[in-house]
């Protein structure tokens, strides 16, 4: 439905977007994920027609939107600071877009009522905006953006200004409302948890280009670069050198690892990065594997409820690992990573 092709945009004479392309399909919730200052909001503003790209096109069902002014695009945008009209009440804010569509008074009031019901704020209709809490404002802003049934809804860090507890609660609510509406959504955030909790598909923006896109599971299992693995907090990143292929062997500072992976084209002598996920670490005081087994010193142990988070010093490398058994600090334990669970990045 929406297609963004090769967007380029400068900010203060430096390139911010260096050719961004992605698509959004019917009824899909796409999360645009990237660190702050990566240009995520700028992409939304370009799609909205609030800013012009240096080059590149935005297409809606194959039609170039370049000549279409913001108010005729029929897209909805929920701003990071909500941008609710302070001179209007809650109901008047929601009615704003409906009035511009030229609907009848009865229809407007009916739809405002429905809309307030969907965010469970019926009793707030005549309250001034200035009296609402952050969470209430967030819900009104969402209702206002959804009321005119936009062809596409964009949300710019909608939970950014709220505290953590409220956020987790609102993510559930947001997911329900957005899925119910059937409107395609682009959701911008820098928060990994938020993105994984909401998205049908993730689009990662890094250094002005789309680094990778896919379902949350795809990204989780097959991150394309070490940066992404770190950004998503997937686990330990260790550099190493390929010593042989078939089977693939990689030498690291704390020992040699066997890796069971087909997709990578690596040659002996090549530098690479490997991802060792804490949850894949095998630690059992009674058992130990031959393969990829290292003796490490326990530097710290944190009780996390379902597991212990261990900070291990393996030779000179610090690694995080999850264990179902407690470990004494400064004791030495065996840890191993199964060959098929190790992910490799060529550099």
């Amino acid at each position: 439905m929406l297609e963004v092709r090769n967007l380029k945009k400068d900010y203060e004479n430096k390139p911010l977007l260096k050719g961004v392309s992605f698509e959004v399909d019917h009824g899909e919730l796409v999360c645009l994920l990237g660190s702050s200052g990566s240009g995520k909001s700028t992409i939304l503003r370009i799609i909205a027609g609030l800013e012009e790209p240096e080059s590149g096109t935005v297409l809606w069902q194959g039609q170039d939107l370049h000549e279409v002014p913001t108010h005729k695009r029929g897209f909805g945008l929920m701003f990071q600071d909500y941008a609710l009209f302070p001179h209007k009440t809650v109901a008047q804010n929601i009615a704003f877009g409906l009035q511009l569509q030229g609907l009848s008074e009865e229809e407007i009031s009916q739809r405002v009522k429905d809309s307030l019901e969907s965010i469970r704020m019926e009793s707030f209709a005549d309250r001034p905006i200035t009296e609402l809490s952050g969470g209430e404002q967030q819900r009104v802003a969402l209702a206002r953006a959804l009321a005119p049934t936009p062809k596409l809804l964009m949300l710019d860090e909608p939970l950014g200004a709220l505290d953590h507890t409220l956020r987790t609660q609102l993510i559930q609510e947001l997911r329900a409302i957005l899925h119910q509406s059937q409107i395609p959504v682009i959701y911008v955030t820098h928060d990994r948890e938020e993105a994984f909790g909401l998205a049908d598909r993730l689009v990662i923006l890094h250094e002005g280009v789309i680094l990778q896109q896919g379902t949350p599971q795809e990204l989780f299992e097959q991150p394309s670069t070490p940066w992404l693995a770190e950004f998503l907090g997937l686990g330990n990143l260790v550099s190493g050198t390929v010593t042989q292929t078939e089977p693939l062997m990689i030498k690291t500072a704390f020992g040699e690892l066997t890796v069971d992976i087909q997709s990578h084209q690596l040659n002996p002598g090549e530098e690479c990065q490997i991802l060792l996920r804490p949850e894949n670490a095998f630690i059992n005081p009674l058992l130990s594997f031959e393969e990829n087994n290292f003796e490490c010193r326990v530097r710290d142990s944190l009780f996390m409820g379902e597991y212990y988070q261990l900070e291990l010093l393996c030779d000179t490398t610090t690694l995080l690992a999850r264990s179902h058994f407690p470990a004494d600090i400064d004791s030495r334990i065996d840890v191993s990573w199964p060959a098929e669970k190790i992910w490799v990045f060529s550099i």
């Binding site: 002014p69 108010h71 005729k72 009209f85």
Partner: protein, 563 residues
Amino acid sequence: MTKRPALLTLALWLIPLAFLAYFFYQPLVAIFRLVFSERFSQGWQLFEWSQVSKPLNFTFLQAFLSTILTLVVGLPAAWLFAKFDFPGRKALRAISLLPFILPTVVVAAAFNTLIGPQGWINQALMALFNLSAPPLKLLNSLPAILLAHVFYNTSIIIRIVSSSWSRLNPRLEQASRMLGATSWQTFTRVTLPLLLPSLLSASLLVFLFDFTSFGVVLMLGGPQFSTIEVEIYNQAMNRFNLPVAGLLSVIQLGITLLVTLLQSRVNTPRYGKAALNPEKSALSRPAKGWQKIFVIFMVVSLILLFAVPVLSLITRSFVTLEADRGQRGEVAIGLTLRYYRELFQNRSGSIFYVPPIHAIRNSLLYSGVTILIAGLLGTLTAYAMARRARFNKFLEPLFMLPLGASAVTLGLGFLLIFNRPTWANSTFPLLIPIAHSLIALPFVVRTMLPAIRGIPESLREASRSLGANPLQVLLKVDLPILLRSLLVSLVFVFTISLGEFGASSFLSNPHAPTIPVAIYRYISQPGALNYGQALAMSSLLLLVCGLGSLLIEKIRLPGEELF
């Protein structure tokens, strides 16, 4: 600070209150008594309602028209300064703020040199088409008054509206666009309602200034266009009909108070932070074609509006035209310093003639005394207001009332009360600086109050704990911190006093006029020399006030506004 804070606060109030009671409220009461006294009811048969209704109607009409026209010019200008970056922006902004500090007589003289019979436009037309009389009779007309008012008050709209416009959160307008509103719908449904409080407040202020305008109307409107202010002056000074003058004063005071109250009501911020831009507002260069055209058009218009009258005044004061000598035929335009040299000579044999240099001396003397009185009383009042005391709520409005009373009303009241031997102005010329002090007092308080409130109490406590006595605290902590604001307000008082015309026109002794009174006298007398001298004096006054406002801009703290 002390064990009995209320008592100290009351002591601080004492002198300013006594001054105000004697010099402001006593004359005011005298006007009221005159209006409702028997003398007036006896004269009621001779009184015709048209004496009041005619100037009243005209005052409303011209103030209304002036305000509308000022908005027509000021709104686009406010937008220009709020949103766009262009070469010369700073300079243009400085020029656009200049009129606010210009004395009314200078503005009137400036417009006289532009559109008057001896002004540039008429002289040029006469020379071009070989005419024997000035073809355009713009002086003594309603358009002349309106033009001068627009010149005067556009700066108020620009200052108030552009600052709130640039602080408006741009996302609100973008949100409206996203919801399907066109630029125009966004302007009428979002931008305008959000700007409305500051727009209303600025408009009411402009209306108030237009409504009470005196010097400009007197000098540019001529005898057939008299506003309430001018009519008070006429009735009191020319017809000696004090009761009618008093009645006009009472009516005018009532209306100005009403407008002031309304203005302070709409001026209260309504939306808090919700409408404010969270980031520093970014000015943008005009990008689209129509934006470029708009910016160029506005810049040219504003330069024409603000710079042309001022330049016209200055250039005209250095030029003799052939028409000056009453000989026609030979064109003899020449540069001259004669008008400036003549300021220092006494040519006329008339006993009422006073050499201009004496007027300058008088004005400087009066403003010196005004600085002392207004500075001292204003600082005391500000200190009293800065303290937390329950009765402050009742006392503060008493001090802001003189702002609502016009200078002419003040002059009339002084005439009624102090036209007695002790105060008779020939022997005791203190009345003018006292009147000027009353006019300047609110400005001093407004500048000093935030500065005094801004001193953290902990600083005083710290210095006391280090062994400073109350006087030492005042001299070593308060004074150094307040110095800038004090200087700003004193310079402002100086320019107010130098340019004040309304009260001075009532109170100045014919033998000892102030600069504005002298300018008014010279410009209304025939002859090229008188005209030239009026212009030379106006130019000097313009220079001093311009320097004064430059000084204020340099020393004032950022974010401090004078109104």
